[in-house]
């Protein structure tokens, strides 16, 4: 049979080809300008919302300030931060992880609660094993249970914060220098991180200062204690002259408040007793009493570059603080990995991040160890005070002043990770 309109027939055959070419060219164009979407999974509602939302503000600001306002990354693509509210519950984390997968997110920032980080780590590892080519990268900026880079270490997990044992090493070194401390009381939340703090402090103090007596080692349920006064009564009765705690959020404020209300004038060594209203609430009572171990000195800030970052952040968010400067560092390292690999493939990014050496806004050189994906950076012990503070917390006039600094190379701990590396 002869087709009556040969030309039309040829055209109709070619039409799908045209269409495909057309769509494909649009797709490529769209890809070049489509944003790089990065998930941020942390509590944005519920009891722990303050920590999560302040982290989100810092990350969003860092993305805009460092990259989007300077023409984007990867030849003009913008960074878009996608908030995923996990309410700091491992169950909700699974649900949000599913959502992230279905939305096509390939990179997830997560920081709060080691229990959640562990749950996410398991979910990510399982997902990546079952869905080759669809892998997801977990960037942990704050969960400090050592297990995440030791027994449970994963190729897909990177930690941008010193873990609890590294921090306690620095903290106990500092405590060991103080001859006045003879009796130490340890109190913490009854979960993985609290236990790590308790066991490690006890072990390290015994090594460094065998003369210090541990007069109390107490756990309390996390987020359940209404009033810490009964615990403080025990601290007073034990004649302790210093306290170590890994508490965060309301548990930290309540504990410190109760200690101060009881008239007990002893130093409190902590991890998380600043910002998000805590510094303002403790105020003058916390002066020269509250000490924190952390990275990135808050006062003095060593470089003009980071000072400007803080000032511009304050201008954009007058009620907030740069609570976790390492979020900006983690993002900048990720972007460097993207530029190096020329894309956003998690496997390639992971390879690029391994053994990356990076100079932060503070001018410090940090190292992401390839064998366990643990970062090493300068660590500081700071005190809450209102003297010599250029950048305060909670607009309270009080802030953190560095008293003791340990350079990155002295914080390096032994690698205990036997990593299962994916094959490609």
């Amino acid at each position: 049979m002869v087709h009556p309109f040969p030309l039309a027939r040829a055209c109709s055959r070619l039409l799908p080809v045209f269409l495909i070419v057309l769509v494909a060219s649009f797709a490529i164009q769209a890809r070049a300008s489509e944003p790089v979407r990065i998930g941020f999974m942390d509590p944005l509602s519920g009891s722990f919302a303050s920590i999560g939302s302040s982290g989100l503000t810092v990350l969003e600001f860092a993305a805009d300030y460092l990259f989007n306002s300077r023409g984007g990354i990867l030849g003009g693509r913008m960074i878009e931060i996608v908030p995923l509210d996990n309410m700091q519950s491992p169950t909700e984390t699974q649900i949000q992880f599913r959502r992230a997968v279905s939305e096509g997110l390939r990179i997830i920032f997560q920081g709060n609660s080691s229990a959640v980080a562990n749950a996410l780590n398991t979910a990510v590892t399982r997902h990546n094993r079952r869905n080759p080519g669809q892998e997801i990268l977990q960037l942990n900026y704050s969960a400090v249970d050592p297990i995440l880079t030791e027994e449970n270490c994963s190729f897909w997990h990177f930690r941008f914060d010193a873990h609890a044992v590294m921090k306690l090493n620095v903290l106990t070194d500092f405590i060991a220098q103080n001859e006045d401390i003879q009796r130490m009381y340890i109190i913490g939340q009854d979960y993985s991180f609290g236990h790590v703090v308790a066991e490690t402090s006890e072990r390290l103090l015994r090594e460094k200062r065998p003369d210090i007596e541990i007069v109390g080692n107490e756990f309390h349920p996390i987020g359940q204690v209404k009033d810490f006064t009964p615990y403080v009564t025990k601290i007073v009765a034990s004649n302790a002259d210093a306290v170590i705690t890994g508490n965060f959020g309301a548990d930290m404020v309540s504990l410190a408040r109760s200690i101060m209300d009881s008239g007990l004038d002893i130093p409190i060594y902590t991890f998380y007793a600043a910002y998000d209203g805590i510094t303002a609430t403790l105020g003058a009572d916390g002066k020269n009493r509250i000490r924190l171990v952390h990275n990135d000195s808050a006062n003095p800030i060593p470089t003009e570059e980071r000072k400007q970052f803080y000032r511009d952040f304050k201008a954009a968010h007058p009620d907030r603080d740069v609570t976790q400067p390492r979020l900006a560092m983690a993002l900048a390292m990720l972007v460097q990995a993207m530029e190096q690999t020329g894309g956003t493939d998690p496997y390639e990014l992971a390879l690029a991040l391994e053994d990356m050496r990076f100079t932060t806004l503070s001018g410090e050189e940090v190292w992401m160890r390839g064998s366990d994906h643990q970062i090493f950076q300068d660590l500081h012990v700071s005190v809450q005070t209102d003297e010599g503070i250029e950048f305060d917390a909670d607009n309270s006039g009080f802030g953190l002043l560095t008293e003791y600094k340990v350079p990155a190379e002295e914080t390096i701990v032994e690698n205990r990770c036997e990593m299962r590396r994916p094959r490609r």
């Binding site: 107490e218 009033d227 006064t229 007073v236 008239g263 209203g277 303002a280």
Partner: protein, 316 residues
């Protein structure tokens, strides 16, 4: 040890009486309307936040008076325009309504005040130690909390048992139709009781905010424990609520103070387990570690052995 005992008792009393201010409102509301108000602790939180905001402009003492009033009015409005409409659909609907309300209030608080801990401080006037015993200070503010809570209990008890209003309320609890037939406006009584109950919760929030920290999770921390008290004390019983509040306050306080636990118990029994034992976590558990969960254990025990609660009159 005596110093620990004295302070544990004082701490237990402060906590217990604070809990009573919440539980009293909840239990009276329950006995009148038959509904467990899940949002009760949320009104406690609202009290703290309102008082915080007011204290920024007018000082603590104005907040102490005004904040509970605002919370009370809010509570009355919730009853009048929310609960009463839902009431016709039965108790389950009411329960779900208050459950939703609790979440709504928490999110609203975060929306307006943010998620951060609020810098709500005790007033200057009470910023001194009331007395110092064995090297530990008991702050004047805690004494003030004790005084307010005791005052509230006495006042509430007098009103409910001695006054005409109290008589009508008591009658409305058991015989609402008869009271209505006698010409009293029963729905109005309900609204008023709900308002006063939430105002009490608000007052508890105002006085607890500065010491127990004002943050969006404060309702959650206290919410569950208040239910435990109401159930243990016997639903609807005011003296029961008082006894249960003190019982739980003291129980927790003593449990934390006591330096005993499984290791001591095992020693007493002459048993020993190696640290590598699979149940090592259990063998090393001490009482202080589980103190905040003890009330829930008590709840389960009371429900098994005395389902009506300590002073409850509920018929089976």
């Amino acid at each position: 040890m005596p110093e620990v005992l004295v302070f544990a008792t004082l701490n237990g009393l402060v906590t217990g009486l604070l809990l009573f201010m919440l539980a009293s409102g909840l239990t009276v509301i329950f006995s009148m309307m038959g509904v467990l108000n899940f949002a009760h602790a949320s009104f406690y939180m609202l009290g703290a936040y309102f008082a915080y905001s007011i204290s920024l402009y007018f000082g603590y003492w104005i907040g102490l008076i005004v904040a509970p009033l605002i919370v009370g009015v809010l509570g009355a409005l919730v009853e009048r325009y929310g609960l009463r409409r839902v009431h016709q659909h039965g108790h389950v609907a009411e329960l779900v309504f208050t459950f939703g309300l609790a979440f709504l209030i928490e999110e609203t608080v975060q929306f307006f005040w943010g998620a951060d801990t609020k810098n709500y401080q005790t007033p200057e006037l009470l910023n001194f130690p009331l007395f110092t015993l064995f090297g530990q200070e008991f702050s004047a503010y805690r004494g003030f909390m004790l005084a307010i809570s005791i005052g509230i209990f006495i006042g509430l008890y007098q009103v409910l048992t001695r006054s005409r209003v109290g008589l009508i309320i008591q009658a409305a609890i058991t015989h609402p139709h008869m009271v209505a037939n006698l010409g009293h406006n029963v729905p109005l009584i309900f609204t008023a009781v709900f308002g006063v109950g939430t105002a009490l919760a608000g007052l508890a929030g105002v006085i607890a905010g500065p010491v127990l920290t004002t943050f969006p999770g404060m309702a959650l921390v206290l919410g569950s424990i208040v239910f435990v008290i109401v159930v243990i004390g016997g639903l609807g019983s005011l003296p029961g609520a008082l006894i249960a509040s003190l019982l739980i306050g003291l129980l927790q306080s003593y449990a934390i103070a006591a330096n005993v636990g499984m290791p001591e118990l095992l020693e007493l029994l002459g048993l020993e387990f190696p640290p590598s034992h699979p149940l090592d976590d259990l063998w090393t558990l001490d009482l202080a570690q589980i103190a905040p969960t003890l009330p829930f254990l008590l709840l389960v025990l009371v429900l098994i052995f005395r389902p009506a609660g300590l002073m409850g009159k509920r018929e089976q």
